[in-house]
Symmetry: C2
Amino acid sequence: MKQPPGDGERQRAGGRGSGFVLGLQCIHCQATFPLEPMHEGCPACATDRFRASLSPTYDYRLLAEHVARQGITSDAGIGVWRYRSLLPTATDGAGEISLGEGHTPLVPVPELAGELGLTRLWVKNEAQNPTASFKDRNAAITVAKALEFGATTIIASTSANHGLAVAAYCARADVDCVILTYPGIPDNVRSLMHACGARVIVTEREARLDRLREAVADNGWYPATNMTRLPTNNAYGHEGYKTISYEMFEQLGGEVPDIVAVPTGFGEGIFGIWKGFRELVELKLANRVPRMLACEPLGGPLTLAVDHGDRHLVDVGPRSTIARGIAVTVNTYMGVVAVTRSNGGVASASDPEIVHAQHDLAACGLLAEPASAVGLAGLRTVARRDRLDGAQTAVVIATSSALKSTPTETAAA
Amino acid sequence: MKQPPGDGERQRAGGRGSGFVLGLQCIHCQATFPLEPMHEGCPACATDRFRASLSPTYDYRLLAEHVARQGITSDAGIGVWRYRSLLPTATDGAGEISLGEGHTPLVPVPELAGELGLTRLWVKNEAQNPTASFKDRNAAITVAKALEFGATTIIASTSANHGLAVAAYCARADVDCVILTYPGIPDNVRSLMHACGARVIVTEREARLDRLREAVADNGWYPATNMTRLPTNNAYGHEGYKTISYEMFEQLGGEVPDIVAVPTGFGEGIFGIWKGFRELVELKLANRVPRMLACEPLGGPLTLAVDHGDRHLVDVGPRSTIARGIAVTVNTYMGVVAVTRSNGGVASASDPEIVHAQHDLAACGLLAEPASAVGLAGLRTVARRDRLDGAQTAVVIATSSALKSTPTETAAA
């Protein structure tokens, strides 16, 4: 499958890239597949009760030689494409879609570190992305890859952040976009999706997955978001989140924090960040990965799944939480992998704890929506139960801006 | 006045800094003053009909030697403080207040360049700041300087963006904050000011200046925003905008664009950006300054002021425009200076033209509130009238995010 690095000509139909990427691999059974649009996770190990995601693999031996010569960044790229040699597209720059995502600050918050018993604590403020959430990193890769595959319409099912990111990157790439969303989406987010030229369809949560699957099957549209009932996510989008790890590693001068706390729903974020650190170890740049702390609203499925053992997906059914964007009913195997392989953990936070964390971030000048504050809330849960296990340093990922939440949600803080 | 560079100990009371900064200077009559909290512009040339702002001056000879050795950035600083040797505070890092502002992307928009008759066009997307507007750069400097002066409460009068920035940086610095604002402020912005711990007082526009002046006189509070009827602005805050120029210069690999188009109200932004480029010339890094294009809503005062000659301030009275944040009644001499000394110009845009520009930016995936889109609208006005005068390259400053506008404003696009 592998093409020689920097081989030039983009293969739009096959979309195999021409960089260091080799193919797709199941994150559970390790089965490998070519770089194709595979929308339903690994077909080899799927059962009625289990599904695993696919994730790009790379020629890390060649990559190590490359980064030893040139470093992990490319001066020519902007946004996530600064790290183009570690991404699953061609390395020639053609077809890269960017709005200048990433390069977000790592803000030290000593005022919160002490209370948590940490020596140092930082907030990686992903609200400072083009559409004000970390989903922009995902959308940059997803839309670029969709274009490689020849997509002419991209569809996403989303509570808000993911959809706005996909709408903006589709606008940037001048490709048609359809967003399936829910009735309570904040007005400013919905109107901005429209302004980006997306067609916005409001449906009840239960109907959205069926609508998405129908659109992909009937119209050949390309799905930017998960399309399986046991969620597996897009096979490429999470690669965008690896750049969060690369940036943190650079911003900390080559240091790896003991813990990285990530608000977690379908687990693309925490998996991508874990994978980014794992690659830095693979490339002999870092000497370890941080313990990944998946933070979910109270009653979430990942807590139970990890307690039950490695292979479990758990359906906890719908529940009410202020952290709407990550209120999933079923966990993913992506989340399980990030937590278990990093010797990390799962922490949960109640609505009052989330509001408390949102308030504490605002008191530092950081504007986080409820889902975005779940990282700090979860880290606090762990610290309060004396389960930091000697951790001295931590990074909390603040995934999205409070400017997107409804006034009621914000006023609560 | 000058202290040796890197002299350590912060002088909180005098606030004279310890870097390359020499003092304050009138931007009209050149009278010089010590680095003190001077809130009403230049006392030397003020009349009933004219007031000029004060602006920090530096020892550019020593600075040139410094940047020849070390470059204009400091690895130790974050946000605007990466350029700390060019800022009016101590250079030892103590007292620097940052939320990771700046480092915003310069997004190429070839799809718009052609229509305007330009070879290349970029959008500097200032929405990607901590509170989603370029005011964060201003607030970082203003709050740091206020603390140097021993301020315990900071007050701002604002339509939205400036106030949210000041509230967030006061939270970061743990100093009390009072925001005077207007009845129609978007709900999400007001609630976030509250969340940052600011006291928010809603007053009619006409009463705000009096309230601000009383609070400063009676309580000794430090004003972060303009407090004179003929506006002069804060003497230090505009230094934050210089970093926009430094970043653009670095992002363009040392190239200077022919035109920089800036949405303009009280002119702090365009003055700061012009001053940044002028300093790069002074330091022998750049060979010219760009032509500064001040872009204001139709019927604005700067158009008339510049037509009338160098020294004019014009009061056009209140008018209705969708670009609320820059709907000033009186122009500033800061705006006049930036335009005339750069051989630039003033362009105005009607509400439909602003909405058109907002729509065009969204069609590129860039989410700008109406005031933020005035730069593109103004540049288009100039291009349509064939007044580009041979310009090939331009940068449009998009000052703030559409996520802050009310749904109605956004839906119009």
